[in-house]
Symmetry: C2
DNA sequence: CTAACTGCAAAAACTTTGCACTTTT
DNA sequence: AAAAGTGCAAAGTTTTTGCAGTTAG
C-alpha cells in the first residue's frame, strides 16, 4: 500500500466517527492525500469537477476548513491565494519556484529547530506556528535554462 | 537628526530626480519612514487621510508599488493583507504576535544566513528572496497575561 | 505646458456566508 | 427522520485598472 493510500485511509478513518463521508469529501481527501505538490483550493476544485461536475468552490473551502480545524491539513498562505498540504499538516519550510511555480518541502528540521530556539531565547517570543518560504529557481528549472 | 528623518530624506532624495513629489506621496514616505511597526496599505491610507482627506486607497497602492519597484519598501504578504516595511526593504524574519497583532523584526542574520546556505546546498535551489514569519505571543503580551 | 499623478468608480480575484435543497447515517 | 453537507448566489476583502481631471516641475 502506498503512502498516499495510507494517508487516505488514515484521514477517512479520522473523519468517519464524527463527520459524514460524502462522495465530494472523499474525493477531496483522496486528491489531497495523493498530491505531491501543494494544490490551491481552485486546483482541487478543478480536479474534483472531473468526477463531480456539480462541485462548488464553497464546498471545497468548507471541507478544507474542516480539515484545517482537525489539524489534518496545513494552509500555506501565499500572496495570491492559499495552498494546502494534506500530508505534512504541521509547519515546515517550502521552496517555491518562481519559474514553474512548484512548491516543494524543505527538509531542514535541524536548522528550523535552531532558529525557533533562537527566536524564543533572543526575543522571549513564544512561537506557536511559523511559515518559512524560500522563493527562487528550483534545480529542474536551472537545468532547463542552460 | 533621527533615523526616521534620515530615512525620509533618503527616500525623498532618491525619488526627486525621476518622480514627482506630490504632497500625498511625501506624506506616505514620511509615515513609512517613521513607522516602527509594519503598516498595511489601509493603515497608511487612514493616516494620510488625516492631512489629505481626498487621499484614495488606489493612490496608496500605486505609491507602494513604485517604492517596491525601486527596492525601497519590502512587502510582507500575510493571510489577510500585506504590510510594508520602508526601513529594511530586504527580506528578514518577522515575529507576529497573535494577540496584539504587532509585527517586529527578528534580528537573526547568522541563523538566516545558515538556513539559506543549506537550502542552496541541500536542494540545489537558488534562493532569490524569502519570507520567514514566526507567529506566537510577544514578550509584552506574555507579561500582561500573568 | 505637459508628462505624471490623483482619485473615483468599476472590476478582478480569493474567500466567506446564507439558505434552500439533498444526502448520509 | 434528523442532522449534516452541498451548491448556488450574494456579499465581503484586498488589490488592480481605466480614465478624466489636476498638478508638479
Amino acid at each position: 500500500m502506498t503512502d498516499s493510500q495510507n494517508r487516505f485511509e488514515q484521514l477517512i478513518t479520522r473523519l468517519r466517527s464524527r463527520y459524514r463521508l460524502t462522495p465530494q469529501r472523499v474525493e477531496l481527501i483522496r486528491l489531497i492525500a495523493a498530491s505531491e505538490g501543494h494544490p490551491s483550493a481552485h486546483r482541487l476544485y478543478d480536479q474534483i469537477k472531473v468526477q463531480f461536475p456539480t462541485m462548488s468552490l464553497a464546498t471545497v473551502y468548507k471541507t478544507l476548513d474542516l480539515l484545517k480545524e482537525l489539524g489534518e491539513v496545513l494552509e500555506i498562505s501565499l500572496r495570491d491565494d492559499s495552498h494546502y498540504d494534506g500530508n505534512k499538516p504541521y509547519p515546515h519550510p517550502h521552496l517555491i519556484c518562481m519559474r514553474c511555480q512548484q512548491i516543494t518541502d524543505g527538509e531542514l528540521d535541524k536548522a528550523v529547530e535552531g532558529i525557533l530556539q533562537e527566536v524564543e531565547t533572543s526575543f522571549g517570543f513564544r512561537v506557536l506556528k511559523h511559515q518559512l518560504d524560500f522563493y527562487g529557481i528550483c534545480l529542474d528549472c536551472q537545468n532547463k535554462s542552460e
